[in-house]
Amino acid sequence: MRDPEYEGLGTLRSPEEHRTPVVTTGFDEQLLLRWHRAMVLIRRAEEVIAEMIESGEVRCPCHLGIGQEAVAVGVASELTSSDRCFGAHRSHSHYLALGAPVEGLLAEVLGRSTGCSGGFGGSMHLKAPEFGLVGTVPIVGATIPIAVGAALALKLDGGNFVAVSFLGDGATEEGVFHESLNLAASMRLPVLFVIENNLYASHLHIDYRQPGDALVRYADAHHVVRELVDGNNVVEVAQATKRLLATVRSERRPAVLEAVTYRWRGHVGHREDVDVGVERRDNLPSWKQRDPIARLEQGMLSLNPQIENQLAKNRSEVDLEIIEALSRARAAPYPNESAVIASVYSTSVNSKGSV
């Protein structure tokens, strides 16, 4: 583990570094292929959504995470469907990485009743509780304390399930992030905070927002264990998650994972970030050389050139899956008008307890 107190992010923030193939030696090929497929699914699904934004078919605000796929896939690889995950505005990747069906996502961004939130959420409000995703919402930082509450529930339940809060570097500037770290640490709650540090909050680089660029330093202030990894290396993300979750599950205490990555599109919408400043325009081509999918493929191919057939199969299967899902999503009806009122309050009064 790096010591951010002295080094900050160091080379992790440089697009000229960490471009080498992901080292996959010793990993089960089927596991690597599953990670690859999940990352390709996220990439292709978001590219299709981007096309529909550009054509005007999708109108809800979509915050695409293209380029950041390895974080969600690496973390999700270590979770079960009984763990409880929460995301934010840029959470297509979390939804898909946890195994939720792409049709539910596509139908949701198209506002259809078959969407994962019944057509009431759009891109920014996703849920798939049967896969562990309780909900994602776009108020920055809002789900951080909610994940802590989920961890409280899981602790009271007994067992060893955990809560996971996916957040961005911008959310660490919200006071509630610090309140939540303190609350989770002082109450010893099983929650993993996954900080996807893509160096930008909307348009503004972290150097203009914080006196330091490594966010694991906040964990130290609250006596929380933490790791800092290359977020574009799915193996590194999964391994760090595995180590941290071993602590979270067995010791019932929080942990912080910071994964440094970069998004290839704008804060919102389909465009690349050509419009948000010289620095970002200059860096984007370099960051594309640090592509988490290409690096995984290179690593797998270096060990077994024959694996290209399997990689190609993943790509074609994903394309077919998305085409079919999109076709069904487009054919689905919009939500019923009456649901606007009907969904405000629950209709039942059924205590889950013994009343």
């Binding site: 849920k127 919402v137 802590v148 989920a150 405000v344 009064v349």
Partner: protein, 325 residues
Amino acid sequence: MEYGEAIRTGFHYLLESDRSVIVIGQGLWSPWYVGDTMRDLEKEFGTDRVIDTPVSELACTGAGVGAALCGYRPIVTHPRVDFALLATDQMVNQAAKWNSMFGGTSPVPVVFRMIVNRGGEQGAQHSQSLYSWFAHIPGLRVVVPATPQDAQDLLVAATLSDDPVVYIDDRWLYDWDQAVTAPRAINLASQGPLVLRHGTDITLVGLSWTTRLLMDAANLLQTEGLSCEVVDLRVINPFDASVVAQSVSKTKRLLVAEGDWVTCGVGAEVITRVIEELGPHALSVAPKRVGLVDAPAPTSKPLENNYYPKVQDIVKHVNEMMKWQ
């Protein structure tokens, strides 16, 4: 049983009968913060279910929302309404909207209990009630118990509701002593305004502390030969005006007393709904709102004393309204 003790009885019933009920907030182990309403509950039910917290209103309220999404029925307690404002995002953006944002499939069975604790020269940031703020938000149910029975029953109903509920109790009521029947499971959706006292001359509408004022005023006015009907609102979101409207259709006179600023307040809603329901000629005299002047609560004793309406103010206003036939 006194109002404060009735709240504690409600808590005790909930914690004893339902393992999913937990309580979280600042000062729960300290009567300084919550009076006797939670006395020794942590000793009987454990500090893992009755949780005193760091000074983090937002995170603790969010934790209540999160636990509610994962099978529990948390009661998040804020010892002042004013402090709860730090947690507005979790109450208004999150709890109130999750069920709707996720197509009616994410109910949030959490209670936000806030205590009104005014007087005592505490001033602007320790005295607010803000009833109508919360009543404005679709998705929140808002209950404002006045009587000891309701202090107990509406806490139980709020906690058993699958919706987020704002429950506001008032320390000026903690010593109100009335007979209280034993707690039982109650469906909050079936609860609404009630006529506490029947009368024929004028309809007096109150909520929480002002209901007690109105009951005292009605007793005084009876000695002067006036028959006042007192309606206690009890639940102000969703808002049901039918009981008040029915009363006004009989009395033709309407006074609303709220322990809050009248501008855009609960009284404005009551009067509007009555007119909408009964038509422009429903009243024989202009309606009256009694509440706070549009200024933050002062600290200095004489100013504070003038700031809050008294029984005599209600009596005066009613007598003026009765001059008009």
